[in-house]
């Protein structure tokens, strides 16, 4: 039913859509690279999404896979190989024909061990070279050195490069092509005249003639320009500005539901950290961590810091991730009495408003977070108050981002840390380096020689199992168990899951804000400007 409505909606929209015009919105920083294989920051990702052609696309609304440049595909050898049937008659933006050789070239370039990119590393489940076989110009089989979990979904991030075009990366298969880049100011994308997708009437998409990306970091200025009509979209907008916008222009403020982003706290459980032993024993205690979690009022944080546009987080997976979210889990409830009861089990006692451990040490610790993020600073202040209510003194230390990274990755000189989690991918295999105890991003105690606790060993086993399994239902069963362990042991205290907030001007048509990135322009080839806006552009 939903699919029928979507198809109907698209057809109707395409019949009514107007051709031409320039869409304008902002990038938060300069794109670091225009090479789609090296993309790591958000601005480069935006440019890649709008200009790159991929074999398989994840539909941001339905979260299902859709054929793009590949009309069909088949995974074989337990997830080690994938065979694509490619679309015929497609050309790059400069006219060079698209064939299986281009896919082979792209995959070889991506899997080059000297190329250290997040996209490439996602495919690199084991060292070794990738093998490509091209039995026909429109068929290709790619064999990886080891099985890759969720192989097909990963191709959503691989923009195909041309092996023959003299323009190299500048020749694209996506709806737009980069026409101008003024550093510090703007990136202008123009319609790709050779784009293969057509609308219902058979005319070549995209509807838009160009997309103008302004480089603007100041969000206040961005909002003012949006209200003035200079910009037609704000892809992600802060909750405070969203609430202001919804008072002023309610129709333009769109809340698509929970996003994949959440905020969390963790305690330093590294035994070699330069902290007093009694503090280390606090942080390693499950009762202590669960008690802190119970003492934090998440509902207040959602209401005050996020203006109601967030919900208490359940775990590492957001409810927006329909398939992988463990719906049986609930977020830790706010219960200071339960917190004190748990602490009492470990010998903590509340005396004269000060909580002390069984040795008499007053419970005091610091929370580091990055500066310049107002929401985090406010959350830290609220948590400080919540913990003061159970006799814990929290010291908030804001650091600039690099100093923070040094503390959590290198010197391990911190007690607790408040940071956010951005999931790039719906598949939990992309988070392997967070859950494996031997990995670097296992934040609370990275690079373990062997698992320090039985539950971490269990998580290791389950994550390896889900990566090796092929049947999605089995993988989900394993990962559901991981989520249960995480909720129970609370190495990360998940605080809130933020909503996906955007601003959409009535000047743009066909925008359907989604919960995952890119929220508003995931269907860029079908975005069109309203007639009034086109007339304004023409002037």
């Amino acid at each position: 039913m939903k699919r029928l409505l979507t198809v109907f909606g698209i057809t109707a929209a395409s019949l009514l859509a107007q051709w031409g015009g320039e869409l304008r919105f902002c990038l938060r920083s300069d794109p670091k690279t225009f090479n789609p294989l090296l993309v790591e920051d958000e601005a480069s990702e935006t440019v890649r999404y709008l200009t790159g052609g991929v074999l398989i696309r994840v539909n941001r609304l339905t979260q299902e896979l859709e054929p793009e440049l590949a009309t069909s595909w088949k995974i074989s050898q337990q997830g080690r190989a994938i065979t694509f049937q490619l679309r015929r008659g497609v050309s790059f933006s400069d006219g060079t024909p698209f064939t299986a050789d281009d896919v082979a070239y792209t995959m070889h370039a991506l899997m080059d061990p000297a190329l250290h990119s997040p996209t490439g590393d996602s495919f690199r489940s084991a060292p070794g070279d990738v093998q490509t076989t091209v039995p026909a110009p429109d068929r290709i089989t790619i064999v990886f050195p080891a099985p890759v979990a969720g192989l097909d979904r990963l191709f959503d991030q691989v923009a195909i490069l041309s092996s023959r075009s003299p323009k190299k990366e500048a020749a694209t298969l996506g709806p737009f092509v980069v026409s101008r880049y003024t550093p510090g100011t703007e990136v202008v994308l123009e319609r790709n005249p050779q784009y293969w997708k057509t609308d219902a009437g058979g005319r070549r998409l995209p509807y838009l003639d160009a997309i103008h990306l302004d480089i603007q970091q100041n969000r206040e200025i961005e909002l003012v320009r949006f209200l003035r009509g200079e910009l037609q979209l704000i892809n992600t907008i802060d909750p405070e500005m969203f609430s202001r916008l919804s008072k002023q222009e309610p129709a333009m403020a769109r809340d698509a539901g929970p996003s994949l982003e959440s905020e969390m706290i963790w305690f330093n459980q590294n035994p070699s950290a330069p902290l007093p032993d009694y503090e280390k024993s606090w942080f390693r205690s499950q009762n202590f961590r669960r008690a802190i979690s119970a003492a934090i009022n998440r509902a207040d944080i959602c209401r005050i810091v996020y203006y109601g546009h967030a919900q208490p987080a359940v775990g590492p997976v957001s409810p927006a991730n329909r398939f992988w979210f463990n719906a049986a889990l609930k977020s830790h409830p706010f219960d200071p009495k339960d917190a004190l009861a748990r602490l009492a089990r470990d010998g903590f006692e509340l005396n004269n408003g000060v909580l002390r451990d069984h040795d008499g040490h007053a419970v005091e610790f610091s929370l580091i977070t990055n500066s310049g993020n107002k929401a985090r600073e406010q959350m830290a202040a609220m948590i400080q108050q919540d913990l003061a209510a159970i006799g814990i003194k929290l010291n908030i230390v804001t650091l600039d981002f690099r100093s923070l990274i040094e503390r959590i990755s290198q010197s391990s000189h911190y007690e607790a840390c408040l940071l956010g989690l951005t999931n790039y991918d719906l598949d939990p295999s992309s988070q392997m380096n967070v859950w494996l105890s031997s990995a670097e991003n296992h934040q609370w105690y990275p690079n373990q020689k062997k698992p320090a606790t039985p539950w971490e060993a269990e998580i290791d086993r389950l994550m390896q199992a889900q990566a090796a399994a092929v049947v999605p239902a089995k993988r989900k069963a394993y990962f559901d168990q991981v989520q249960e362990i995480v909720s129970d042991q609370a190495p990360f205290l998940y605080l809130v899951t933020k909503d996906s907030l955007s601003a959409v001007s009535p000047a743009v048509q066909n925008v359907q804000p989604a919960m995952i990135r890119p929220q508003t322009y995931w269907n860029a080839e079908r975005l069109a400007l309203a007639p009034a806006q086109l007339a304004r552009n023409a002037r």
């Binding site: 206040e220 005050i304 610091s366 310049g372 830290a380 010291n395 600039d400 100093s403």
Partner: protein, 268 residues
């Protein structure tokens, strides 16, 4: 003019007293969050309304005034003292001493001092209280911010050295320390005071700018710096004009200082 100075003195004493007695005068602790009354407008209970976390703005202004009023002048004094010593020696001594000091001043004006702040911050222990870190921040500002004032004092000292007054004194046999203390220092006094009172709001604003990159005062301690940061959002100012209160207090304090200073400022 006399009346204006008396009024200024009175206002300053009032503000000082109110901030020093903040513990008794403030209706609520500065960190207390009234979570049901977030961003409330001014009322009988909250004279300046509440901020985004439901904290009483009036209490925060009182406590913040105390911190900034004590620390910024202290830092300004430190910076001015260094500027007087270094700039004064350069201007008075002349010759190669002057040349070397000029270069040192230029050096000080060009270095990226942000990193010194970052280094010192990272060396502070994790349990350093917010007050400690703000004292350290202002101290560094004082130790580093003397260079612009030194240039001006140097120019003043130099023209004093060449002035008739000093020439006359030297002709009369006065030299060395006595010359400096009796003839030059009084001539420099107006310049020094001018630089001192300009330095105070400069350091307060400097603390506000440092706050933008996380080197400011840690939560929940209020200071004029982080109260002034709320102004960076003009839309919220228009909807809640009480946010301008810290700015108003700062302007009043600075103007009062200005009125209290001796009128003659320049070397003759």
């Amino acid at each position: 003019m006399k009346r204006a100075r008396n009024i200024a003195a009175g206002v300053l004493i009032l503000i000082f007293a109110a901030s020093l007695l903040a513990g008794f005068v403030a209706p609520a602790p500065y960190a207390a969050q009234f979570r049901d009354l977030v961003s409330a407008p001014a009322s009988r209970r909250f004279w300046l309304g509440t901020d985004e976390l439901g904290r009483d703005r009036w209490s925060r202004l009182l406590y913040g005034t105390r911190i900034s009023l004590l620390l910024a002048p202290a830092a300004a004094m430190l910076a001015t003292f260094l500027a007087v010593v270094i700039g004064g020696v350069a201007g008075y001594a002349g010759g190669w001493c002057d040349r070397v000091i000029r270069r040192v001043i230029d050096l000080f004006l060009s270095l990226p001092w942000l990193f010194l702040f970052l280094i010192v911050r990272s060396l502070l222990p994790l349990d350093a209280t917010p007050l400690t870190s703000v004292i350290v921040t202002f101290t560094i500002m004082g130790l580093v911010g003397w260079a612009p004032a030194a240039r001006i004092i140097r120019a003043g000292a130099q023209s004093l050295r060449n002035s008739d007054l000093v020439l006359h004194a030297r002709a009369c046999g006065c030299h060395g320390l006595r010359l400096v203390l009796v003839h030059i220092a009084p001539g420099l006094k107006p310049v020094i005071f001018a630089q001192f009172w300009i330095a105070i709001p400069t350091f307060i604003l400097g603390e506000a700018s440092l706050g933008l990159i996380g080197l400011g005062v840690a939560e929940p301690l209020p200071s004029w710096g982080n109260l002034l940061r709320e102004l960076a959002n003009p839309q919220s100012v228009m909807s809640n004009p009480w946010i301008l209160a810290p700015l108003a207090v700062l302007v009043i304090v600075v103007s009062c200082f200005q009125l209290l200073l001796p009128e003659r400022e320049f070397v003759s």
